[in-house]
């Protein structure tokens, strides 16, 4: 869908405007740092571009940090390799991985609000749509399950933070294709039904340019048929067929995407930000800048 690209573009745009941005990569694929042409990063935030730091969620590291910070447990070193405890906790207590993910993100946000961490904006490149519900719903689920203990205290503030429209927005990235649109509609319905998390905007990525005006359709139709096709081959060489074929593909894709855009409009009343399909060869910082520019144009900044 271009979730990482939009994340990187937003970060770039915010950084340009003087914000200190933390980008959190949840599904560590490493393509986020590629978008800044930087080597992969780990759990510790690394500044990959001016004003933009990136970190990757590592649930085990998150647990270590949690134990160290919140419990000040002196015996952590004595309970053997923490990995086996982590395995136990993560497997036995459901949602621990999810809570450690969302908890770490929430913690960075809270630390920033209270002036102990430097971020003006935390952008999360979240998990795929089927899983993000489980992650965002983890505080609620755990809160309902664990009525005492420090986890219970933790889930309270986390839920409040996630529910605050001044702080949190869940944004969705979609491409105007059939399945992604259907999934987005389903995701937004589930978020509204199951979570107390405010929705932000829908980024519609990879929108194709309109190739033909309605008046040109008959003309294009004629070009693709004989005798015009023969004229084109004669005057422009055998490759003319490929050019016409490419045009046909572009028109058909644009048209089918337009139908999905309509469906998206009808089903979802959230604000939408449209980003163009990028016909560029590279995949690094250039793409990030182009997307940042497109988001900026759309938002009027």
């Amino acid at each position: 869908m271009g979730k990482s690209t939009v994340t990187a573009g937003l970060a770039h745009l915010a950084a340009q405007r003087g914000k200190r941005v933390l980008v959190v990569e949840v599904d560590a694929k490493g393509d986020l740092t590629d978008l800044f042409e930087h080597a992969r990063v780990g759990f510790e935030p690394v500044e990959v571009a001016r004003g933009i730091s990136v970190m990757t969620i590592d649930t085990e590291a998150s647990l270590r940090e949690y134990l160290k910070l919140n419990l000040r447990v002196p015996m952590v070193g004595r309970i053997g390799p923490i990995a086996s405890m982590f395995d136990f906790v993560a497997n036995a207590a459901p949602g621990v991985k999810e809570i450690l993910t969302i908890g770490k993100i929430g913690w960075e946000v809270r630390e920033s609000i209270e002036g102990r961490a430097p971020w003006d904006l935390v952008i999360v490149d979240a998990a795929a749509s089927g899983h993000v519900i489980a992650q965002l719903g983890a505080p609620q689920a755990i809160g309902g399950l664990v009525s005492m203990g420090s986890v219970s205290d933790q889930t309270g503030w986390l839920q409040a933070l996630l529910a605050d429209p001044e702080i949190t927005a869940l944004n969705v990235v979609v491409t105007p294709e059939e399945m992604p649109v259907a999934e987005t509609i389903e995701l937004i319905a589930r978020v509204r039904a199951e979570l107390d998390v405010p929705l932000g905007v829908v980024f519609v990525n990879r929108v194709l340019p309109e190739l033909l005006h309605r008046a040109d359709e008959a003309l294009f139709g004629a070009l693709a048929e004989e005798p015009a096709a023969a004229v084109l081959r004669e005057k422009a060489g055998p490759g003319a067929t490929s050019v016409i074929e490419a045009g046909r593909l572009a028109v058909a894709l644009r048209r089918s995407r337009a139908g999905h855009l309509t469906r998206l409009h009808e089903a979802i009343d959230l604000p939408k930000v449209y980003l163009p399909e990028l016909f560029v060869r590279s995949a690094g910082i250039r793409v990030t800048r182009l997307i940042a520019e497109a988001i900026g144009d759309e938002l009027g900044i």
Binding site: A93, E98, M148, A182, V231, P238, S242, V243
Partner: protein, 427 residues
Amino acid sequence: MAPPRRTSAPARRASSRQARAGRPSPGARSRTAGLEPLLAAKEVVVFCGSGGVGKTTVAAATALGAATHLGGRVLVLTVDPAKRLADALGLRGGLGNVERRVSPEILAAAGIEVRGELWAAMLDTKQSWDALVLRHSPDEATAYRILENPLYRNITSRFVQSHDYIAMERLHELHSAGRYDLIVVDTPPTRNAIDFLDAPQRMAEFFGGRLLRWLTVPYRIGGRRGARLVNLASRPFYQVADRILGSQFLEDIAEFFVNFQSMYDGFVERAHAVERLLHDRRTTFAVVATLESAPLQEAEFFLAALAERELPIGALVLNKTLSTALVEPAGEDAARRFVDDAPAIAGALALTGEPALAEVARTERLLATLAESYRNFSVIAKREAELRSELVGAPDLVLTVPQTDADVHDLRGLAAIADALFLGAAR
């Protein structure tokens, strides 16, 4: 209805020959280059790949292609929580845990002649877990204690990891029931697909693990409700766990696992059987990607992960690829002339007498637009070709599915992809 058991291998080969004989000859070369020889000897094919690459579609098309070209009874099992497959297969009312057959009438109406049968199911995590508990519990009382444990209810309905194991378990169940000649499995998107590969092993290790035995000690010694965890409060582990989670929750966990332990043997044996199935020579894995940098990185990751686990990699499917005509010099040459020679070309077109081509200025503008659009797509096609040449760890069988004009949302669309996969001939 109790469907008969799977047909014998010779019968399948015969039906496959019939299927071939019944189709227009696609040419010998493309036939050997497709999925057919790979799947003719397989009973399970698992598709991995990142989200958005069309994995579910490719899995469904593979099942359709197998039912068409190989015959036999073919099941596509999706574990994707999003309900995509039913729409494409025309199964109104959606998919659930119980397999549904795609009706031959609907297939015939779409112009698809299927020798075998096409079935589809979507994994329902909760239902499958419940069935598993009921099957392995020593008695009904234990089963209901587990089913009613709040922890169990949460594990099975809410959390993503629980999909992983149960998906493999369900695959095993379906396979060992022997109803299907081929089971095509679609896996969840993201890296969870790797968890899913390791799930049986992890499950066996977990239930056989010392840590779990240790945790449940107070229960096993003191009777189910006799002892309290407080007895172990001197142990640092419990001090930590108690402070993090609270003792009530710990008790829930312990009770859950004590009950679960009664199913230990059956469970572990089962996990090992699932593990063996994944490594069986009748199973193969296929990785799906698009020729874009992020999905390809994911594909390489999957290929490496499969190789590391010594799981058999059958094929790499490159989905939604642009035509190679877009990178040929002749196309670029023509696009240049569309612009440079626009007046001459538009003039010649006007002379054809076609009414639509009469306005020379309008034709010139469109020629320029088409040239630009060609170059745009050409840039992407070149990027695709480059990415393809840089691909690391690809298996011998690499299949390409062309980008189609429209989305694949019906049987006809699936059939076109199936042809690309089996015959290398979707145009």
